[in-house]
Symmetry: C2
Subunit: 200 residues, 2 copies
DNA sequence: TTATGAACCTACCGACCGGTAAGTTGTGGA
DNA sequence: TCCACAACTTACCGGTCGGTAGGTTCATAA
């Protein structure tokens, strides 16, 4: 079954916002990507802000689905955390996009929050804190310590997920491939160390 | 001695680019910040791109200075690495700005074609790889493994450094202060674990 | 048969963008 | 005294921005 125009527009918006940021993309760009005019886009989403909001909403929904899936599949808290986090660093363009949008939102939401006023990141962060707190070695840790750990994990993962073009540009394709080949293993090691408990 | 107009403009540009990104700031905004017109700015920096380039150049220069300073002060490679990295999470607005610019550059430098900016990041990353490789436990590690470690450290640090407004917004000032109180310790723990050697 | 509403369109608006052109003003040296 | 030059200014350019106004086309329901 064919995608609706509305869904095509959401997809195009996700890709372009991830690549260039909210202020780097015009609604005409997005509409043009699906072969229509910007007024067609404004027919479906009354403002650019609302379109952006729906894109973020979709992504946050997607994270919830993945998390529920992981919780149902894995039984050990450490496995749950690792599988959930490693899913973000997969080579799929969809995952890269999500990481980029997440990071851009982090940089820009202060400026935009005045009008939008919605913290799309909140649920996502709180879910992760919950997953860390479920680890045996973290049972006695404070909320703040768990959040600090979440942030370090998230940072390590998303910083890398976002950097492919830059790293290829700086070091060349060969060195990037070599890096990519070892990154996941180093990251698993990091997750294992975090799972061993907070630093005291 | 008073700052020159040119330096005032560079300062204003650094602040605004960090906050809103290259495409989110106009040269008129920057010039306005120092009470002049955009043509005054264009008199000193012939294009917006060149102004941005100088801002990045300054920052990369600043990192070099800090690094030289740390290498001269600390003798143990692990101390050198830790002091250098922790300097980036300091609560100074200047450090936050640098982290934001670094992250934005990472997200955008692919698009800003020609991309002189790539090279500013290159030196910085290579310096860090060198510092990790200097650790005893990393003597036999590959270049790619050291780069992976650098990236995880950098990600953990900059993701957090950039997030203050967001975290305050999501969790409130109290929880943010609590997080901030434990973050540095958790980060030191992370650096210590990295210094213990690559995961195999 | 008519009419209603979704899904598009062209035309246009005022604001702003980066950048050019052509001054004006003040200062310091020959 | 004259002149060159740095440091600005106003005026303007073509282009893009998000958004509005007011259509047209077409399927479906009354």
């Amino acid at each position: 079954m064919a995608q609706t125009t509305r869904d095509q527009m959401l997809d195009a918006a996700k890709t372009l916002f991830a690549e260039r940021g909210f202020y780097g993309v015009s609604i005409a760009n997005i509409a043009g990507e699906v072969g229509l005019t910007k007024q067609a886009l404004l027919h479906h989403f009354s403002t650019k802000e609302k379109l952006y909001g729906e894109v973020l909403e979709n992504i946050s929904q997607r994270f919830k689905v993945v998390r529920a899936d992981v919780l149902a599949t894995e039984t050990e808290p450490e496995d749950q955390l690792r599988v959930y986090l490693l899913a973000m660093v997969s080579r799929s363009p969809q995952d890269t996009m999500r990481s980029r949008l997440l990071m851009r939102e982090l940089l820009d939401n202060k400026r935009r929050a005045g009008s939008a006023g919605v913290w799309y990141l909140k649920d996502f962060l709180e879910d992760l804190v919950e997953m860390v707190s479920a680890l045996k070695a973290w049972r006695d840790a404070s909320d703040a310590e768990a959040l600090a750990a979440v942030y370090q994990l998230l940072g390590a993962i998303n910083y890398y997920a976002v950097s492919e073009p830059t790293l290829r540009g700086i070091f060349g394709d060969d060195r990037y491939e070599a890096l990519d080949a070892v990154f996941t293993e180093q990251l698993s090691g990091f997750i294992r160390k975090v799972a061993a408990g907070p630093s005291r």
